[in-house]
Amino acid sequence: MTDQKIDEQLRRLSRAVAETSPEPPELAADSPRTRAVRPVRATSWSFAAALGFGAVTLLAIAWWGPGSDEPEAPVGDAADSRWDWILEHSEATDDETLRIAEPSATPAPAPAFDYAALGTEQILVISDPAVPTLGVADTTLLAPFVYVGTVADTAAGGYLFHSDGGNGPIRSTLEDGTLVPVTCLTISVKPVTHCYPDIEPTANDGLISAVSGVSSSAPQGDVTVSMWLPRETAVAVLNLDDGRSFVQRPVAGVAIFVISDLDSAAVESAEARSASGEVIVHEGFLEQWASLLAEAELSERCQAADHVVATYQPRLGDDVRLENAWMVESTDPSLEAWYFISATVVGGPLDGQIATWEFPAFGGTVDPVNTPHLSIPANEVAAAFDIGTDPVLLDNVHPEAYGFTSWSEVEGFELSQRCVGLSAEVP
C-alpha cells in the first residue's frame, strides 16, 4: 500500500471517529465525581526475544492496578512511557525513522549529597552521537536507537531500543494477547539484551528493575548489571556481599555497572537515591534468594551453576519471595548459568501468582561433555513442549499453556527445580 493510500485511510478513519463522537458529558456540580475504584487486576507480561545475540532471558510477571482501598491517581500524574520521556529530552534526527537520539539531555537530577561515601563511582560516559551506533539500524524494530556509551572506561556501552510489540523480534504480550511496548537495553560487549516493560519503576512497585549478567568465569569476562530507574533517581547504588559498592549517576533513566571478579561475591542489593540522598527504592537480591535456598531440596545429580541469571528482576515488593522456581541452563555451554522459567510468588500483592520468564533464546548448542549436569537442555525444552523453535511463539510460558498443571508433570524438570537452591547459592 502506498503512503498516499495510508494517509487517505487515516484521514477517513479520523473523520469517522470525529463524526461519531458522542455529545460532551455534563460536568458534575462543584466537586469532581468520586467513582468506585475498579477491582485489582493481574496481568502477565511476557517478553520473548531472540536477536541472534545468544542467550536472552525475559520475564513475564503479573502486574497489578491500584489497590482497592486507594483512590485513583490524579489524571495529571499519569506518566508518559519511559521511552517517550527519553525521546522528549533527546535530540532526534529529523527523518521519519528517527534512528538515533542522544540521551545526554536526559541527565539524572544533580545529587545534593556526598554520594562518594556510598561506593566507587563508575561513570557512564555518553558517547558522541556521531559515533556509529554499532550497526544496529534494524528497521524491523521501528525504533530509534539511543547510544548509551561506555562504563568505567570499559567498552561495555550499549544502546536502548524500543519495540511497540507489533514489530520486529522483540515481543511483549499480555495474557489476552495484547501487544505492549517494551524497551530494551543491549550491552554491546556481551552481548546481552535486557528488556523492561514500558512502565515506570517507582517506590510503590517496590523494586528497581535491575539486571544481573553472566558469570565472570565465562569467557566474556566481567559481569554487567543494568538498572532501569525511576526518573527522579540522582544516584544508583550497587552493593555486593563482599563489601564492594559502586555508585553511578544514571543517564536516560539507565545505569550500567561493570563488575569484575564476581566469582567470590554476589549482588546483594541495589538502590535508587534521590537528589537529597533519600532511598527511593531498595532492591534486595540475596534476601529473595535466601528464601529459595531454604525451600530447595538438593539432589546428588544436580550441580550448581555458579550464578543465577535473572535478566529481569521482578518487582516483587517487600517481604516477597519466589518459591518452587523452575529453571533451565543456558544454551551457551560457556555460560555456567541457569535461567528462571517460572516461580510462585509468595507474599505481597501477587501472592500465589506464578511469575514466568521466557526461555533463553534458542539456537545455541549444548555441549553434553561440558554440561553433564543438565536436567533438560534448554534447546530441548521447545521439543518437550512442542512449541517449536520460533522465539515469537514463546509467549506466556507457564505449564497450563502446554496442558500441564505443573512443570513437575514434565519429565526431566524435577532436577531443574532442585537445582534452584544450588543455583541461587552464589559461592
Partner: protein, 162 residues
Amino acid sequence: MVRLSSDRITVLHSDRDLYEMHSREVTRFAASLVGPSDAADVVHDAMAALIASAALAGADNPRALMYRAVLARAKTVQRSAFRRRGRERRYAENVVSADPEVIPEVARAVARLSPQQRACIFLTYWEDLTPRQVGEQLSIAEGTVKLHLARARQNLREVLDD
C-alpha cells in the same frame, strides 16, 4: 474576569466556561483515543481532576492542558487489559460503520495503537496540525510525534501488505 499585569492582559475564564468552549473538540479527541462508548467518561474524569487541581483557570494554554488531561486519562483507561480487547473491537466496528471506505484491518490496526499514537494520528489527520503543533498540544517532542506517526504508518503498511 480581566487581570492586568505589567506585561500582558490575561483573560481569566472559569473552569466551566473553558469546558464549554472546548468540550466538543476534547470529546472528539477522547473518542479517537478510546472509542465513543468510553469517551464521555474519559472527558468527565479528566475534567473533574483538572478542576479539582485548580490548574485549569491559571494555565497559559488551557485548551492544550485539557487535551493532555484527556490523553493521560485515556492512557489509564487503556491499561485496563480486561476491557481492552472489547474496546478495540468496538472502536474498529464504529469506525467502519461510519465510513465503509475505511478498510477494517486499518481500523483494527489503529485500535491496537497506544493512546498517544492515536492522539498524534487524530490531531494530524483531523485537526490538520503539524508535528510541531501536535507536540505543543500534547506537550511532547516533535520528534516523538514523528515517531508515532512513522510507527503507525509502518504498522498499517505491514497489516495491509499481509
